[in-house]
């Protein structure tokens, strides 16, 4: 599904970006894979933020390997969601499919990008199985406590 700014944004996806999200498959769709490209949403200032300072990103997903949703059950569409890390807040971004899909704007500090199979194209809340998921690069921020372990320090 291609929305506004699609041509320019899709061109922009070709080069990749510093804030890309790698999408990982789940057992529901093991052949699926993808990337989400985050580009600052349109703004007269060149960079888009909300009044409280959250970055606003336009998101384009490039996906391959999704089976027909109906192969997973009574589902007819795949829907992308921006989700807070505690899984409490789910914002529907839009319908996605294999190929390039421009799904709209997310404005969380850290968020998960989740694709689910759904019975309709416009569900108000998640209902079906997850097929792809990824973490915004800001999610890589960790407490300093974690860094020594990531660098190979022993656990005790």
């Amino acid at each position: 599904m291609i929305k506004r700014f699609s041509a320019a944004l899709l061109a922009a996806t070709l080069a990749g970006g510093p804030y890309d999200i790698t999408l990982l498959p789940t057992p529901s769709a093991p052949a699926a894979q993808g990337t989400a490209r985050l580009v600052s949403a349109p703004s007269p200032f060149g960079i888009a933020v909300s009044p409280d300072g959250h970055a606003r990103y336009d998101i384009v997903l490039r996906i391959t390997g999704l089976p027909a949703p109906s192969t997973l059950g009574a589902y007819h569409a795949y829907v992308a969601w921006a989700v807070t890390p505690d899984l409490k807040d789910w914002t529907r971004l839009g319908v996605v499919s294999n190929g390039d899909s421009h799904v709209g704007v997310a404005q969380y500090n850290k968020f998960l990008l989740v694709v689910t199979a759904e019975a309709t194209a416009d569900p108000t809340e998640r209902g079906g199985p997850t097929v792809l998921h990824g973490t915004s690069p800001s999610g890589w921020l960790q407490t300093f406590l974690a860094h020594p372990f990531f660098r190979g320090a022993p656990g005790k």
């Binding site: 580009v39 200032f45 933020v49 409280d52 959250h54 860094h147």
Partner: protein, 556 residues
């Protein structure tokens, strides 16, 4: 901070400090004892850095002067000038008082910020600048496409003006809009301490802007203060070289408690200037509707509604705001900062001022015109001449990067393990201890010409006058400490034609472009003004750490 985290930090930092080679960070002659740096709420100074000070001699202005003998800084006033007029502008030391604490600052004609110069478009005025401060100085006329001889860059377009020296600038103002003036010598000290002022160039066209009930010039700035003490500056070279000095006291027109009175329904045109060394603002007006009208050097092709105004150092925006009901409207800077200790974002909100709308009705009532977004056909028509060049391959490519040498070992270690993620914009200084200790002798911020590999002042671009130069700038997110950079080109104007491959759809002429971490920005420079022109990052400490080059616009 959790006890466990602190314990790890104390252990790690203590170990690192024990390993620290002689970095010259402490006890240098003239530095005096270590002093604490104010840390953000909820954060402590890194244990391994406690007791260190930047390897520079501390400088605060006015050494040997009795503070009480200095005149109190005066608020800025408008000065209307006509073509051919001469203005005497004197930089002096003043006594600034903020939150009840007084310290030595600088002012133009005793005012902080300096007087707002109102000039008719197309006029040429003379400004006799007298440098009566205790540092060499100059004046740069930011954004104004004037004669290169008067651009105010010591060592490039003029001699350095020693204390007591005088120089007359001829300032020709071809473009309408909001511009500003500031020294181009140790901006990290002089601009930060008050030497900045607005220039309002009034259009020949009386309908250039929509009608408003009043106009206000707002100069945004910040100061770094610890209790009642101004954090000293580096005498030989700037400190805070990593991020620039981000103040913890936010000021509008030089004061922390800006107030404006309006009538309900009034439409106010704000001419916004970010005169801060490093801070980028996200400014809103208590929910009042905001219309963005113009940028650095022109109006937008089409006006737009915005919820807040994002303005980087040295940028300007013209916005119109309507205060629909009686009451108070808080001017907020609201951002999301990163707490690096716990790896989390946290909101940071500062009240810059308050607009109070009384119950009297706006007169005239401009609500109808305010709801209209104007399309400026003349702006679009002029830009039409440039559209064919927008899609061509870049003529020049720059990468923004940096190098460090001799930083305190704890700084190096902690920064090297904190590189998992860099935000597109660092809104405030979350690690001021590390930042404070870094000087321009240890940090090199770099403009790198991709074609030649040359850096900073070794770059030697020559372009013919009248040419259009497409420049692609990439802000390298893989460098040791990437950060956003407001890139300013003197004496010319330019268009952002694309960001990260996304073409611009509403153009405005600019002279300063904020480039976030990891972004690629395509610029089209209208090289119409001959001379040798600086191109640099406008974070004052990044400029002091070398991030500058020269573009020569050669006469045919």
């Amino acid at each position: 901070m959790k006890t466990g985290i602190l314990a790890v930090l104390v252990f790690a930092a203590g170990t690192l400090a024990a390993q620290q080679p002689d970095t010259g960070m402490a006890n240098m002659p003239g530095m005096g004892p270590a002093m604490p740096i104010p840390m953000p709420r909820g954060m402590v100074m890194m244990p391994g850095l406690v007791g260190l000070t930047p390897p520079v001699t501390r400088f605060v202005p006015g050494a040997g002067h009795d503070l009480s003998s200095l005149p109190a800084a005066k608020p800025m006033t408008p000065v209307s000038l006509q073509a051919g007029d001469t203005l005497d502008l004197t930089a002096t030391m003043v006594r600034r008082t903020i939150h009840g604490h007084s310290f030595v600052g600088y002012g133009f004609n005793g005012e902080v910020p300096g007087p707002v110069l109102r000039i008719p478009q197309g006029a040429t005025i003379a400004v006799r600048f007298h440098n009566n401060i205790d540092l060499p100085s100059s004046i740069h006329w930011h954004g104004i496409r004037l004669d290169n001889r008067f651009d105010g860059v010591p060592g490039l377009t003029q001699r350095t003006l020693a204390p007591g020296d005088t120089l007359t600038y001829l300032v020709h103002a071809p473009d309408a809009g909001i511009f500003w003036y500031h020294p181009h010598e140790r901006e990290d000290i002089q601009q930060a301490l008050g030497l900045a002022g607005g220039i309002l160039v009034e259009s020949r066209d009386s309908a250039y802007y929509a009608p408003v009930n009043q106009e206000q010039v707002l100069v945004l700035s910040d100061l770094l203060i610890n209790g009642d003490t101004l954090i000293p500056y580096g005498k030989e070279t700037p400190d805070f070289a990593l991020m620039g000095r981000v103040g913890n006291v936010l000021l509008v027109n030089g004061v922390p408690d800006y107030r404006l009175s309006v009538h309900q329904g009034d439409v106010v045109r704000f001419f916004l200037i970010n005169a801060s060394s490093s801070r980028t603002y996200n400014l809103s007006f208590g929910g009042a509707p905001i219309k963005v009208v113009a940028g650095d050097v022109s109006r937008f092709e089409r006006e737009a509604w915005v919820e807040s105004v994002l303005i980087g150092p040295a940028e300007r925006y013209v916005v119109e705001v309507r205060f629909p009901r009686a009451g108070t409207y808080q001017m907020l800077n609201a951002v999301q900062t990163i707490n690096h200790f716990v790896g989390e974002y946290q909101p940071e909100v500062d009240t810059l001022g308050v607009v109070t709308a009384d119950s009297a009705q706006a007169s005239p009532d401009l609500s109808a015109s305010f709801t209209t977004l104007r399309a400026n056909a003349d702006v679009s028509k002029e830009i039409d001449r440039y559209r064919a060049a927008m899609s061509r391959e870049p003529d020049k490519r720059l990468t923004l990067t940096m190098a460090t040498h001799g930083l305190a070992l704890p700084t190096v270690q902690f920064m090297s393990i904190d590189t998992a993620y860099f935000a597109p914009v660092e809104w405030s200084d979350a690690m001021p201890d590390m930042n404070w200790l870094s000087t321009a002798d240890q940090v090199s911020w770099e403009l790198r010409d991709d074609a030649t590999g040359k850096k900073n002042m070794d770059i030697d671009w020559h372009v013919p006058v009248g040419s259009l130069v497409k420049v692609r700038i990439f802000n390298d997110n893989k460098s040791f400490h990437p950060m956003q950079h407001p890139i300013h080109l003197h004496g010319q104007r330019m268009l952002v034609v694309a960001r990260d491959g996304v073409r611009t759809t509403d153009f405005v002429w600019k002279d300063t472009i904020l480039i976030p971490v990891g972004s690629t920005v395509d610029l089209l420079v209208d090289a119409s003004n001959p001379g040798a022109w600086m191109m640099h990052c406008h974070i004052a400490e990044h400029l002091g750490a070398g991030m500058m080059a020269v573009m020569h616009v050669d006469n045919k």
